[in-house]
Symmetry: C2
Subunit: 374 residues, 2 copies
Amino acid sequence: MLAYQKPCTIGDPVDDIDTPALVVCLNKLEENVGKMNTAMEKYPGVAVRPHVKTHKCPEVARMQMRAGAVGMCCQTLTEAEAMVGGGVADVFITNELVGKTKLRRLASLARQAAVSITVDDAANLQDISDVATEMGVTIHIAIEVNVGQDRCGVEPGEPAVSLAKLATSLPGVTFKGIHCYNGWNQHVRSTEERSNAVNKVVDLTRKTLEALKAAGLECPYVTGGGTGTFHFEAASKVFTEVQPGSYVFMDADYYKNLARDGNFDTEFLQSLFVLTTVQSAAASGERVVLDAGLKAVSLDSGVPMLSQRPDLTYHSGGDNHGIVTPGGDLPVGSKVWLIPGHCDPTVNLYDWIVGLRDGKVECVWPVSGRGPGN
Amino acid sequence: MLAYQKPCTIGDPVDDIDTPALVVCLNKLEENVGKMNTAMEKYPGVAVRPHVKTHKCPEVARMQMRAGAVGMCCQTLTEAEAMVGGGVADVFITNELVGKTKLRRLASLARQAAVSITVDDAANLQDISDVATEMGVTIHIAIEVNVGQDRCGVEPGEPAVSLAKLATSLPGVTFKGIHCYNGWNQHVRSTEERSNAVNKVVDLTRKTLEALKAAGLECPYVTGGGTGTFHFEAASKVFTEVQPGSYVFMDADYYKNLARDGNFDTEFLQSLFVLTTVQSAAASGERVVLDAGLKAVSLDSGVPMLSQRPDLTYHSGGDNHGIVTPGGDLPVGSKVWLIPGHCDPTVNLYDWIVGLRDGKVECVWPVSGRGPGN
């Protein structure tokens, strides 16, 4: 067993949780999962397939499936294997997988669950077909279209048609539809600008659908959107599915969206925290030091906020420390609740999510989809 | 078993390693371990206690112990437990541990190995004494002195004396000496400026030693220094031990030191790489996309370099992707070797280190000290 030891046991009070610990408030998590369901009732015919890259945890996925999700999006094979192993019967890998080793793992998963994956390269698609045929399974293909993310994906229109045609012609695979996601749009701060940004995505998606139709190809599946934009994709009449992930936990970066406008974004609550302890107050007039550094909170989207202490600021103190200023009233041993800057990579630093209700530990969930990206 | 699956098996060629993977070149690692030994022969009476926060891996620690290390420095209890479990008989935790849960784990370790720890707070020292007494063990105390890091540690001189006196008076603990480390100095780029920075550390350390002596306290143990500065501390006639860590692996940030001056820094070789695969070349005229994002390489000290490809630049593409420009000659499926910006937090993202020799996998080591900081 490689995981570090569990930070607490069921029934423990907060004070007994070893820190740093990743803690989720179960009431708020459940409220978020329910609210997504309610939000999606406004868009009949549009499905929700939440993204597990946020939580990487089968227990949360099962909660989302019970609330009406049609399946789960995954970013890595490890996440997909963890979800299928945890009982999810339909997984969509929103990422290209390359090489025989990975593709055989993919085909093996397709024996146990409905498996779909994005593709943006003809030779890769041929490899998937070969492995699926060799292993006697069917893998469903969504062509990734570059709708402004400028990362993976073929250009809209004809390049997508060309790959879709190939998918319909090869054995072991089906052409499922198109994947049109722009992650950067999630973090455009104002609602109006975010809506305008999604309009561009919808235009490029529509252009691709028209090209597919002109080529005689049915495209019943169009997927994209995240926590920051899913309302717009869902209302577009073009998308058939949305993939929000962060809404279950939220984070300080999404909070900056909320702070800019008072609309439906505010429907989700901050449920995820990193519980830390003050380990040094030797210079407490100037600073105190927390036992949570960049191994405990990902700093890629900015430093964490201190929950309920807007007067205090977190500064990076290296791998193992967070420096809080001014911090004069926090003695050694006191607990500080951090709101991570970015939930997804922060969760990836942990093997365990502690579920808290009414001040007591109700569960300790393994983050079994964690890893560097395999 | 929570770890993601091993990326390869012993005997595999490079092409069969599943990516992203953390790979160490064993010849270079062994050369680095040997070179540290040779370097320290210049400083008789000064011991080397390498820091495991770099590798978190008992196999590497045992290699360092065989080469003459007197014990290992650890930053967390998880690291210390992994090292003692892996056969290291003397561990020094260069960090404050707070709270009964952690202190009981510490005392439990002291049943199996010689255990020392830094302290900068009287109440915390009292707690350590209480737990050690309760569990019938001895824990050795090094007072952490703030020599310019401005993080943990009491101020030089009298505040250190006061804690040292307390350590000598309490049961279950001994006063071992002082910990005088300034991490920021490791990354001062020019040798001359780095030497000047260490002179300030040495002055503050000497001031504290004089205050201890005036108070009638023997201080046979003075520890500090890292890969960037250990020569200066070792030559100071004040330090009795140095704590270099990164020298076993090196990284792109330390490489910036090397690039600035042609002196002894260059003695260590880059042995650690993140092996990645090109997963998308749909826009290969402009960019290609690697399967290694910020879950595979820590970006806190800048982006990774591409080994042997100084013409190419890595850009962050989020959690799971690295974007390489211009990248025109890298087809889908080709391997790219990244030199991490910062080795310590990059290693912390992995459960496995793949050891490579002559193009084949010789070992797959568990990173058993990994974790958020518990």
